[in-house]
Point group: D2
Chain length 135, copies 4
Amino acid sequence: MYFSEYKIRVRYSDTDQMGYVYYGNYASFYEIGRVEALRELGFSYKTMEDDGIIMPVLDCYSKFLLPAKYDELITIKTSIKELPRVKIQFSYEIINEKEQLLNIGETTLVFLRKESHRPCRAPEKVIQLLKPFFE
Amino acid sequence: MYFSEYKIRVRYSDTDQMGYVYYGNYASFYEIGRVEALRELGFSYKTMEDDGIIMPVLDCYSKFLLPAKYDELITIKTSIKELPRVKIQFSYEIINEKEQLLNIGETTLVFLRKESHRPCRAPEKVIQLLKPFFE
Amino acid sequence: MYFSEYKIRVRYSDTDQMGYVYYGNYASFYEIGRVEALRELGFSYKTMEDDGIIMPVLDCYSKFLLPAKYDELITIKTSIKELPRVKIQFSYEIINEKEQLLNIGETTLVFLRKESHRPCRAPEKVIQLLKPFFE
Amino acid sequence: MYFSEYKIRVRYSDTDQMGYVYYGNYASFYEIGRVEALRELGFSYKTMEDDGIIMPVLDCYSKFLLPAKYDELITIKTSIKELPRVKIQFSYEIINEKEQLLNIGETTLVFLRKESHRPCRAPEKVIQLLKPFFE
C-alpha cells in the first residue's frame, strides 16, 4: 500500500450557508490528495498530461461523518491499495486538527490517451515508483 | 416512486482543462435536481430551512459514464424511491440532448434541527405530498 | 446599445457561511449573462470556440450593493454599449425578485485565435448581428 | 503600508476548458491573500467572525495579464495601503514561478456587526497590529 498525507486550509469559498464545507467541494480535496500523493512519490500528474495521458474519474464515493468548517487546517490522507493497471483507485480520509475523522472517500480513475480518448495502461514510470510499496 | 426532471445548461465555469465538466460539479447538479424535484412537488427546501430544519448530505455516490460538455443542455432526472423518515434518498440520472446517459448518482441526506443539530423526522408536509406516489 | 436579460436561481453551492452568494460567484453569473445575451442575438459562443476563436477576460469590475441569497430567482441584465472590434465590453446589472439592484459589473474580453493566442477582430457574424442595435 | 505574501498551487478544479484558471476563481485567491495577510499580522478573520463582526466585499477589480495554469505554484502578494476605518482595502498581485505578473486586483470590504448588519469600525486589535506599518 502507498500512503501519503497533505494539509490544506478550508477557504471561505468552500463553505455554504449551513456553515459547513459544501459537499461538492470534497471532490476537489480528493483531487489535491491524489495529485500530492503522486508528487510525493516522484510523479507529476501535470507532466503525464503534457505527455498525452489524461486521467478522468470513473466513479466517486463520499461519506460525510462530521462537517469540515471554515479556516480549519484539514489533513487529506490518501492511499493506493493496489498497483494500477488501466484503472487506479485512491482512498481518502480527511481529519481535522482535533484528529476527528470528517470524511472518507473512494475514487476510480482511468488512464486515457488524450488524442484518441482510448484507455491505456498506467505509465511505466508510475508503476516503477509504486512497485516497492507492494512487495 | 416520485420522479421529476429539470434542465440546466453547462456553464464555462463548470468545465476543466480536459474540456469536460469537472467531476466535483455533479454534486451541485444533484443539489439542483433534488431541490427542483421538491419544488415541483410543492415543497420548498428554503422554507424548510427558514423553519429550522436543515438537510446535510450523509453520503454521495457518482458514476461518470460520458463527459458532460460546455453549453450542453443537460437533463437531471431525480427519483425518490422510498418515503423518507429521518433520512431521505435521491437517485439521479443525467442525460444530454442526444439522450445519452452521462452520469448516475445517489445521495442520502438527513433531516436535522438547525438549533440542536439533532436528527428529526421528515417534515409532515413533505410526507403528505410524497405519500400519493407510494400507494 | 444591445440589451438582454436572463434569469437564474441561486444554488446552495453559490452561498457561503455569511448566508450570501460568495462574491467570486458573480463572475459566473456575468458569464451566463453574456453567453445568453449572445445566444439571444443569434450567436453561439460555443460555435465560435469550435471555429477557433476564444474570448478570455481582460478585466472585471464588480460592485456589491445588496447580497443575493439562496433560492432567489435573480435577473442578469446584460448590455453591450459599443460595437466590438478586437475587444468587447459587457455591462451587467443583477436584480432580485423585488427588483432591488444587487450588483453591477463590467467585463472586457478580447478575441484571440485559439492556435496562436493572437488577438483578432470580432467575428464578422457577431458584428453583423449587433450592427442594427447601433444605428 | 503592510505587505504579505502567500503561495498556493493551482488546482485542476480551478481550470476551465481554455486551459487557464477560470477568471472567477481569482476572487478566491484574493480571499486567501487577505486572510493569510491578516493571520501573519497576528489577526484571525475567523475569530473576528466568531466575535460577531463580518467583512463582506463591497467592490472588486481584477486585471488579467497572463493566464495562471494548472499545477503552477503562484504567489499572492497582498498589500494594505491605508489604515482601515469602517472599510478596508486590499491590493493584490499574483505572480507565477517565473516571476511573471499574472494578475492584479483590488477589493474593498466593510466591517459589519453580524446581528444588525450595521457598519462598524475596524476592531481595535487589527488597528493596533497595523499601526506600526503606517508610522
